[in-house]
Symmetry: C2
Subunit: 322 residues, 2 copies
């Protein structure tokens, strides 16, 4: 896992992924006490950065392997990223989703060309279903974050941040990244280490599910005690991965922890000031910039909005905080 893999991924995804800009608003700067630059990955294909990693992984496969199809476990953003990346490569995808996943996510994943296999969380093992299908059909598993080519794909987001920061003269800034398993955070950290070493990566997580913040403090992987109970579902994972953790440990500053209510407020500010739709987990980094300003350093802060796949009811709840 190194910067050359990220550069190679950038070459492969060029012209296929959305090259997102950095956007800002004076009004957010006033709240944050510094200039806030937002990387809107909600504008990425399928509404989250996950498309970058999925496309990177698919495009790095040997053609004969890829032609047999891919498989992923996900009820969320990774599912849609893999489904679209597979279709763009002319191959098939199987996405194993819990039968109680939101119908819209199931429908969307199917509409992107995936074969959706539903399982009962209470009585069936998704791993067994996946292993059987993979063996029968020769499918290749695309993990959501603990996969080097996936991390390389997410790292392309960091290359773009480095390029824009250089153009804008931003040198001394924290780069706050919404963090689940750490694929995006690790990828951006590696890219910035090579291309913008004065920028510091900081993971942002919801309170109670801040395993990476606690892991960084403890210098070892710490797991979350639970996996439900936050609206920031997109960034709730058991713990960092075997590939992501060494990168996070080496390159990240202290984690920033925000509440669900702060995530909703950040969504409302993204609506009114940036005209962007963020999902709760995707707003964690912006929430940290707005509401943890004493824990952040520098005249500028760069934050990811990592995704925008939110249903209307949750979004309406966010607008009610205005």
């Amino acid at each position: 896992m190194n910067i050359e893999m990220i550069r190679a991924a950038a070459t492969r995804i060029h012209g296929h992924a959305v090259r997102t800009p950095l956007v800002r608003s004076e009004f957010l700067d006033q709240i944050a006490g510094r200039r806030v630059w937002v990387k809107p990955e909600c504008l990425q294909h399928t509404g989250s950065f996950k498309f970058r990693g999925a496309y990177s992984a698919l495009s790095a496969m040997a053609p004969d392997v890829r032609a047999r199809g891919v498989i992923a476990f996900s009820s969320g953003n990774h599912a849609q990223g893999v489904a679209l990346a597979a279709r763009m490569h002319g191959t098939s995808s199987v996405i194993i989703m819990p039968a109680d996943a939101p119908q819209m996510k199931i429908d969307n994943t199917r509409a992107l060309g995936a074969e959706v296999v539903l399982y009962d969380r209470a009585t069936e093992s998704r791993d067994e279903i996946g292993a059987t299908l993979s063996a029968e059909r020769g499918l290749t598993l695309v993990k959501p974050f603990d996969n080097a080519e996936v991390i390389a794909g997410q790292g392309t987001c960091g290359l773009e941040i480095a390029e824009d920061a250089d153009r804008l003269g931003i040198k001394d800034a924290d780069v706050v990244v919404c963090c689940g398993g750490g694929g995006l955070t690790a990828g951006i950290a590696l890219a910035l280490e090579a291309e913008a070493p004065t920028l510091r990566v900081r993971p942002a997580e919801p309170a109670g599910f801040d395993d990476v913040a606690r892991s960084l403090a403890a210098h070892k992987i710490v797991k979350n005690p639970a996996l439900t109970g936050s609206i920031c579902d997109a960034i709730i994972t058991p713990s960092a991965g075997d590939l992501t953790w060494p990168i996070l440990r080496r390159l990240c500053g202290a984690g920033l922890v925000i509440t669900d209510d702060e995530a909703l407020c950040a969504m409302a500010h993204a609506f009114s000031r940036l005209k962007l739709v963020a999902e709760p987990g995707g707003a964690a980094a912006l929430a940290a910039a707005l509401f943890r300003k004493d824990e952040i350093e520098g005249d500028d802060v760069i934050v990811t909005i990592s995704g925008g796949n939110v249903d209307p009811a949750m979004f309406t709840a966010a607008l009610e905080t205005l």
Copy 2:
């Protein structure tokens, strides 16, 4: 008014305006029956394309003229664009707004550094107030659309569309533009005439306020019978202007007319599929692409989302159409 003025404006605004991308979603393509490319000017500074024209006008002024300050009449997007452009040039702005304008718009315009002068629509003349202030202080009026440097600034949006269309291989497409006084529409039309002559500009307007569509059909300027009664307030003007009309007449295809309900539906689709916040008037072109597909030609259609300054209540109403 010519392409060289637009190219010069592009040089002046480079690095100051947001260089917006073209974004799309497979799901919108399915509704529209062709590929839909969206130019999200809601991501522009102050939430609408108006910043381009305002910055262009301010940057084109002689320094001693600009230093005396500028004045504009607006209760909406032009007000905020002029206020921010003035501040970025280190000069002052006076914005004359009706006293019954939404408090948030008044607050935002003030927060961007403008001196807001309120008048009573029933008893006072904004033109008299403006003339008096301009004479006293030597202020320069920045008109919202019938000003060559403003049109040139809006035209930079067209240069970007031409550049991206060329890169993406889009040759045969209608370019649907949300149209009020015609500044954005005329600017884009001039830019495409020079840089992408196979792309055809089509104005989009709300039903009952479709003066440009009717003017194009009649080959002469036709006025709207009323100026209130649509939620698409951002694109309601009495008629096209003396500068914009000859350009529209020469270069635009037939106008497309959408309903308020279709604008709300388009806002909801922009939310769920593009993760973008559009205001009703800003969604008119997308609504035309989605709901007037039989009136549009080509395998691709390009639409502007011209602004995103919408209050939460209106946005919630749009989400209820999903």
